[in-house]
């Protein structure tokens, strides 16, 4: 398990230095356009001419491709095969064997779905590789997101790996005491309680002390919060965001007009 739950790679690049909101806007624009565009090739083009080149601009191409390979290819591959085989309807048969009948329509539909999923996830991977979570949160807090949200997000990212390593310790400990994590269903259900119990109650007990600790640091202060870091927001950023908004509007309009 990774010690930190964060994809972020610290590098200096033109893409890294964009404002986090601009990058987030880019992600959402890519997704909305990929899903609303009436053309079947749009998502492919967005990936090939948008997401992928930007990974190179951000100098994270290696990490990007590895993450896509690890997280995306198995899932989209599975969905592509299943949908090609099983999507109903479709008249132009490509081939068939046993109970399966693969048609041009089912393959086309599967490709469309998969290319859209590919854009959605890969755009987020690119965003996460080039944006530190606390930079995003600092920027969003400055724009009016309540500070409590920033706390929840960053805290979650730090607690999950801690709980995962605790879970692994508990699983190992229970196994060494002879608990079976295999066997019949009843066996496995019985194994659930001694694994989940200590983990859940242990972490819930800590909640009260942690609440006291952050209250002691003025968490509920009504004064206007400031931030240690300054996140740059240039004219280029603002211009880009308007441009992206325009693209999204155009894409949605095209969808509505095309029916």
């Amino acid at each position: 398990m990774p010690e930190k739950l964060s994809f972020y790679i610290q590098r200096s690049s033109a893409f890294h230095s964009l404002n986090p909101l601009t990058k987030l806007g880019l992600v959402f624009a890519f997704i909305v356009i990929a899903y609303t565009s009436p053309f079947y090739w749009t998502a492919t083009v967005i990936f090939g001419l948008g997401v992928l080149p930007l990974a190179f601009v951000g100098r994270v191409q290696r990490e990007f491709l590895l993450a896509a390979l690890r997280l995306l290819v198995p899932v989209t591959g599975f969905i592509f095969i299943m949908q090609s085989l099983f999507l109903p309807g479709g008249e132009r048969e490509l081939f068939h064997f046993w109970v399966f009948r693969v048609t041009v329509e089912s393959v086309a539909q599967a490709y469309l779905t998969v290319s859209r999923i590919f854009v959605m996830i890969s755009a987020f991977i690119l965003f996460l590789l080039t944006t530190h979570p606390s930079a995003l949160m600092t920027d969003l807090t400055r724009r009016g997101l309540p500070g409590t949200f920033a706390y929840v997000i960053i805290s979650t990212l730090q607690i999950i790996p801690q709980m995962q390593s605790k879970a692994q310790t508990i699983i190992a400990a229970q196994r060494s005491r002879g608990m079976e994590t295999g066997g019949s269903l009843a066996n496995r259900v019985r194994a659930l309680v001694p694994l989940v119990g200590p983990l859940v109650f242990g972490s819930l007990v800590e909640v009260e002390e942690r609440a006291i600790a952050i209250e002691a640091r003025g968490f509920t202060s009504r004064l206007k919060k400031t931030s240690l870091y300054e996140i740059a927001d240039t004219r280029l950023d603002r211009g880009l965001r308007w441009f992206l908004l325009g693209l999204v509007v155009l894409s949605v309009a095209a969808r509505v007009l095309a029916g």
Partner: protein, 252 residues
Amino acid sequence: MKLLNSIKKDFNTMTWVLIPVAIAINVVIGQIVMVLKLPVYLDSVGTMLVGVICGPWAGALTGALANTIWGLAIDPNALPWWPVALLIGFVTGWCARGGLFRNTWKVLITGFLVALVAAAASAVVNMLLIGGITASGSSLITVYLLQTGRSMIDAVLTTNFLVEPVDKISTALLAFAIIRGLSVRYLARFPRPENAAVEKNDLVALIIGALVFVVYVILVGSFFNIMFLWVGLAVSAILVLAVVLISVLKKA
């Protein structure tokens, strides 16, 4: 104003600290369940917990954030389902506010109501974003039903209404077991400890709980004929109305 106050009530510092822990509980229990290869997900235990002791809005936020963070940091497949998780937290909180999280039978009813909403919502997300066949194990049912000549939407709905009740009722019962293990003094720090005030099983809840089983059996019938799905849902709707009526009458 009333709405704003209702939202505000859900959030105190304990809530803000509990939410990250609850999300981690979702993730870790979800992963333990995978290790044990159980036929359920149980990945909304934390969300339900927040919904009950902090309220529906906090539950909704927990669900939405859980799937977003899970999706962005661990497994992208979780990402599109955040609206479903949001509704799970909200409906749980809403039921708990109506007193439906105080004994085993009532919790079972809550689990069933949550399952109905989750099944419908995830069918919508599935049809809009994934196209019907997902990468999860339950898609095998969908695929089988497609082979019997069902339409995609029928197959997806049937799958969801078969799978969700088992999972959400188990999840709700596990969340209830956790709440019962927490001290009154500890629970009192959260915004809505009264939702978790455990009471004895009552007859009305038992009868409705038994009816839930009957409805589920009808829903299982939809595996063979889609008509059973609509009948099951109609009976569910009557059941929901009955639960609402009973709780209104009790208050009056």
